[in-house]
Symmetry: C2
DNA sequence: CTAATGTCTCTAGCAGCTATAGCTTCAAGA
DNA sequence: TCTTGAAGCTATAGCTGCTAGAGACATTAG
């Protein structure tokens, strides 16, 4: 049996975050000690590892809750899990594309030199005038 | 003179967001009509355009406030503006790199096929077992 | 047994909005 | 001029995913 602090150290998730995940319904409320402190078993540890990894990959709390609930029954088809992963991957790819467009704009702005005073600062001008942009954002 | 709704339509910023920017100190409180409604002039319109563009490029409210305050005096050097832009560009590049690592992991997970049941679902397995990952995240 | 550390609950705060409620004002048509 | 419907006002709460604090109680090492 692990205390919440031990679990925190082993998973790398902070103590208040673990309590937050419990509140959000991502982990089952664990047993308690005589003095009302949370006591976790191996299953709790594994569950938190799963959550941590999923969060690190950018999955939302809601997606993780879905994945956990469908992982309950080992016999069920897992199409939905694949779907969630694919959806998320698509979302990430969109984000990357968007950021790359921003990055291109910022690089262009960065590289345009000016006389060094606010009056003709190209950074400020570029921000004021959207029509200078090479792509949508 | 424009009402807040006209400004919203012209800038593409929603009405409550404009009020929020005012509260955050990004725009000067505009004049008011006899009945206490906000009335904007061209300067207000331009300022909001600047903010919209800066936000679209991902700059934070704080950064934008800085940029606005240093843009007040046309004679001042604008090194700080360049610095803010460069800092932000670096930040975006980091974000892109991070997302690309995630994307690689997700693609790997997506492409690993399994028998289709939760019991040996590769998506769930990959999420449970961080050691399968090819890079840090 | 004591002192230090850990844990408990509850509440509030972060960013950047968005939504709602209950009210007042404005503008256009009859 | 009156009316009606849209638009505006303020104030407050909610969203995501945590994080930080207060004040009280539990556990554990020495």
């Amino acid at each position: 049996m692990y205390s919440i602090g031990q679990i925190a150290r082993r998973t790398g998730i902070k103590v208040p975050t673990i309590r937050y995940y419990e509140q959000m319904g991502l982990i089952d409320p664990p047993g308690r000690s005589a003095g009302n402190q949370r006591r976790y078993d191996e299953a709790g540890l594994e569950r938190l590892g799963f959550i941590r990894h999923a969060r690190a990959l950018g999955l939302s709390i809601d997606m993780i809750r879905d994945l956990i609930s469908l992982a309950q029954d080992k016999e069920m088809p897992c199409d939905r899990a694949h779907e969630i992963a694919a959806q998320h991957a698509a979302h990430i790819r969109e984000k990357i594309a968007r950021l790359q467009r921003l990055e291109a704009e910022l690089t262009r702005i960065e590289n345009s030199h000016d006389s060094g005073t606010v009056g003709d600062c190209h950074v400020l001008a570029a921000l004021t005038d959207h029509s200078q942009c090479m792509s949508e954002h």
